[in-house]
Symmetry: C2
Subunit: 403 residues, 2 copies
């Protein structure tokens, strides 16, 4: 049995980023950028006004009220038809380009227009560059704006559009096959008989694959017999990732590790000091021309979900080019005192609550261990407790992994 | 101009949950459950063993070492073929059903097997119900386990499978049309000329619609002319939600509110005390047989993204049957001192960092206002600052909305 940190390091060592492909920007959602993206424009593209008002020459102002000739107007998104000279002003809208000759903008609220096409400005001090933003203040042409490895969400996709990337290079989405095992499992629509339970792993892990951003290419159930298992594994190894659930504990029917070995999958680790999730098995098939990461998750739904989150999701993101720091651990004060018992590091279902004082805290949920999927459905993540029996006082700072 | 809280209340008042439909469990992901889901099974379905060991009768134990006849074995997922009497034991695996007559399990580590099919158990006190979990401890048949309105993620889908819901009722996914407006916009693949900028709103808001869990049924760009806008709006009103960007400020080319009125859309509010996002427009078309919520977002990408998150996303979740408390506000200490100026409540881009001491804090990003989409791409959400000029010390507790 190895420690979680060691297991994650071993896993990271087996991840090879998938090849790149170029896709339309709108299809790049929930993937990682594969190349640095530079801007082909300056932002803002011109010296721009930050307010509605009048573009003026600051040298015209000497503290006294002043009357200027209004020679033109620039609407939002418009472009100045002319520059200004001394004694002149141009009406300008927020965001518009400041005309040449102007080095300041006076807010419209501080002005009075007259019938003869002039504007009277108060004699307050007008400073150069007042109420305007210089060209290229935010980004400049040629600058790397979005680095390789950046996760692509709505905001980043908007940014890439702004700087001229209608298409982007991203790593391919991993293909994942799912095999649930176990004689005792029946479909969710069937009524379990004595000793039977429903196969909740199949829809739960399929959903987890979608949530992680991978493509589910196959899903089947195998009974605990060598032939059934062999066929399911052979099919499943054709993708980038094979996820099995069940059959990895030490029982007589736990045939998965043996079958995987038979089919050339090299074991990297088996059993991690983790609760729930200890029986996790991980190995790699590498034929030279094809590589598949293989995860044998515990059959228990709670354990399989925790292991999916800690290991499989990490692998999927790694194959897509994401950082291996994922999942990010946050830290919160405990909302209530908590007595923890256990000889392994434990991931306890919890949710974030806000106290009357306004502080965000994490609250461990009532949870009856690895048979209790109910608590997980209402959890936002897990608190990580160290091994050993210990009473944690309310307010103690604890690690929290968001689901 | 109204306050954000008032605007959200007005918005909530216009949301009518969409009709229900029944879908396969695997397709219910990222939707809200429409009916309470009861369990048709007990969990656990039987009195089960929590350890690998021997099922025994606690009355056999009086503090002295004892030898019991091992009459059978129950494997994981197996069902006992027989009960036990006094002086007997059955080998049992974790999770298996405890045979009748047994009221305790002794861990295998505390036992010694003998060659004649017997087991010797240490004379430690053995208490009734030790190392087993009673039937229905976690859930019982007929119990409402997942309430209506629950968000369906992988864990909840697993739970629904466990309790017998192979299909579930969910509200329909809202259909959304998207219309970007503005003469100055060019496609991301084109090079902007003087006064032009790229249309980053189109891919950004389309991605936001997907992220929010709605179905994008139409997307087009209209120039700032009545005919172009009229046609785009008429098409867009056929869905459950119409999102426009641009054309809602006070400029001469801001034709959107007028065109919406012409087509029977009733204004609910226009302009909210919010930075960025003040020009937001919201109204409703209700023909009796069809209802469409219409959002006029500011044309500026930063403002439109903030408004999408605060208003459109809320509406989409509301139409799907989600709670109106969304988005949930968390609270974190400020990582650095921050001086905030502004006459409106401001949502400032920020990210969650972890200090050396292990505390999670929020760090305001360098941000140059509503023209700066770059900061948002690297933000995890927004800090909410109250109006007014104020210096906030590092460590001050602030509101944070996760994106």
């Amino acid at each position: 049995m190895i420690e979680l940190r060691e297991a994650l390091t071993l896993l990271d060592g087996e991840i090879r980023r998938l090849p790149k492909e170029t896709v339309e920007l709108s299809f790049a959602h929930q993937r990682y950028l594969a190349d640095d993206a530079t801007s082909d424009v300056d932002v803002p593209p011109h010296r721009k006004s930050l307010v509605d008002g009048y573009a003026v020459c600051s040298a015209d102002f000497d503290g006294k009220d002043i009357s200027l000739e209004v020679i033109d107007e620039v609407v939002a998104g418009g472009w100045p038809r002319t520059g200004i000279g001394r004694g002149q002003a141009i009406r300008i809208m927020t965001g518009a380009a400041v005309p040449t000759g102007a080095d300041a903008v006076v807010m419209v609220e501080q002005t009075v227009t007259t019938d003869d096409g002039r504007v009277i400005l108060r004699g307050d001090e007008v400073k150069p560059m007042q109420n305007l933003m210089e060209k290229a203040t935010i980004m400049h042409q040629g600058q790397v704006v979005v680095p390789s490895g950046q996760w692509l969400d709505a905001a980043t996709i908007g940014l890439l559009a702004e700087i001229g990337h209608g298409q982007v290079a991203v790593s391919k989405r991993p293909t994942v096959s799912l095999v649930t095992t176990g004689n005792e499992l029946v479909a969710p629509s069937e009524k379990p008989g004595p000793g039977q339970i429903r196969n909740s792993n199949a829809p739960m892990l399929a959903t987890s694959v979608h949530e992680a951003g991978a493509r589910l290419i196959g899903q089947r159930h195998a009974v605990d017999e060598p032939d059934s298992l062999r066929e399911a594994i052979a099919d499943g190894l054709s993708g980038d990732v094979l996820v099995l659930s069940g059959g990895v504990s030490a029982g007589v029917l736990d045939l998965v590790p043996g079958e995987l070995k038979q089919q050339g999958v090299q074991k990297i680790f088996h059993r991690v000091s983790l609760k729930p999730g200890k029986p996790i098995w991980f190995g790699v098939l590498d034929t030279g021309s094809h590589r598949c990461l293989v995860f044998g998750l515990p059959g228990n739904p709670v354990s399989s979900l925790v292991c999916f989150h800690l290991f499989v999701r990490r692998a999927i993101h790694g194959l897509m080019g994401g950082s291996s720091e994922f999942p990010a651990c946050e830290s919160y004060p405990l909302a209530t005192a908590f007595h923890h018992r256990g000889n392994r590091p434990t991931w306890w279902p919890a949710r974030v609550i806000r106290t009357e004082g306004g502080l965000s805290q994490v609250e461990p949920l009532e949870w009856r261990g690895s048979g209790d999927l109910r608590a997980l459905a209402f959890a936002e993540g897990w608190i990580g407790f160290s091994p050993g029996t210990k009473s944690h006082e309310a307010g103690t700072q604890v690690d929290f992994i968001r689901r």
